[in-house]
Subunit: 267 residues, 2 copies
């Protein structure tokens, strides 16, 4: 009987979002979850169901998405038998990378406590949004940025302060997702970093929260960019938040600038 | 008469190499030079000939390629008239970027001394080669790296020292290009930097020289990678150099990892 007791594994996954209809499995669509579950099913010789830390939208990238799934004790033994005297799960990881779409990389495999959930055990999620701030269009960073040109980063930083804390973010949630659902969230950090890559200047917006509403990070960024472009005053962000109405905030920033950066778990 | 006296302008140009059959103009091929000269001809309403600091091969990228060309005094007056009270050449630059292929960005336009040559006045050229050194394939840096997995960077650094200075680099020059031509060059720096981008570990090889032979940077990198993979001993690089024979050195590293980084001019 012991050989069928469940154990839980987690994958750390990076992907380029452009090729996929988002993370979540959908019939007849190329999705990250569909690719991962197909690869797991191929290696484990049985259907596999996964849970992810955050269901990213179509076009959104990930550096550190976390995906959990259960294996039986005998499956775990079999996986371990492949890597005697080597890094644990190295050949399992290599098999998954060989099967999945080339825009997905399983970066790490680890064993968690039985029953671990990539979604429910997460205590914080970090997203980074990359803004290309030169007048000239970016080349090297093009696939992972939104090209907006010059921004007043200081104004954006000041305007963002009102967003920190536990608040109702209904104004920053896709309207169709906010119907009859709680829209309070705890936003822990919004930080700005200017950096340069291959001669291209970027403003990176780092957003950390316990969890996020649908399109929340991108709507925060789209709203702050309006301030950075001086199309709206700084206090407009606080007014948009207080309105609890999606039409009060700015546009949702394009998916291609957003990277699901990292998930934090206690302990 | 004064209105036809020649003045010299220079463009600083970035491009992604994958789409082009190299920098140099060729009939019926998409090339960076062809695109730039077409854009200049469109804006200046006459054929334009350009000189570049380095003719990069098909697939090689550039961050700071420099391209020079002459304009008449009246053409210069006309370009200046477009940007009264603004950054000089801003609308000229914008026009060029609107006409050229999207994988080319004219980053800057500047006036040089009359007769300046992007090629002959260059005192040093810097290339950077990006090696992806994780076992897992890179995603974010994929288009600009060669994925080689783990390398012994210290061994590569030690092995590279023999290359510094004025020497005959015939072993590191494409054989067909070395026939009856001088193959001595002054290599000023070969440096290694470990860096991380979106969770992907890179080893960046920075190569600076007065000028380079055909495929020289890529052959140096391909040779050093053999040492980094422990397929060859460190002293093999010095032996390859001394042999003055292309077959004595390693393979030419793939074009996609190479970026023509910067050109230096005295004064």
């Amino acid at each position: 009987m012991e050989s069928t007791a469940p154990h839980t594994l987690a994958l750390t996954v990076a992907y380029r979002g452009a090729a996929f209809s988002g993370f979540a499995r959908q019939p007849d669509q190329l999705t990250v979850q569909g690719e991962l579950e197909h690869a797991l099913a191929t290696v484990l010789h049985r259907p596999a169901e996964t849970t992810c830390a955050g269901r990213t939208d179509a076009g959104v990238h990930a550096r550190g998405q976390v995906v959990s799934f259960d294996v039986t004790a005998s499956e775990l033994d079999e996986l371990d038998a492949r890597d005697v005297n080597r890094e644990r799960f190295a050949s399992f990881r290599r098999s998954l990378n060989a099967i999945t779409h080339e825009d997905i990389s399983v970066r790490a495999v680890s064993q968690k406590e039985a029953g671990f959930s990539a979604r429910f055990d997460a205590t914080a999620r970090e997203y980074r949004y990359f803004l290309a701030v030169d007048e000239v269009p970016p080349q090297f960073t093009r696939d992972f940025t939104w090209h907006v040109g010059h921004l007043d980063a200081d104004a954006m930083r000041r305007a963002s302060r009102c967003l920190i804390g536990e608040q109702d973010f209904k104004s920053f949630c896709r309207a169709s997702s906010a119907v009859d659902k709680p829209t309070c969230r705890n936003l822990m950090e919004v930080e700005f970093e200017q950096t340069e890559l291959c001669g291209e200047n970027l403003l990176v917006v780092r957003v950390v929260g316990s969890s996020f509403l649908h399109s929340m990070v991108r709507t925060i960024v789209g709203t702050l960019v309006e301030v950075g472009r001086a199309r709206r005053p700084e206090q407009w962000v606080a007014e948009a938040l207080a309105a609890c109405d999606r039409t009060a905030a700015g546009e949702c920033a394009p998916a291609q600038g957003l990277v699901f950066w990292e998930v934090r778990y206690d302990g």
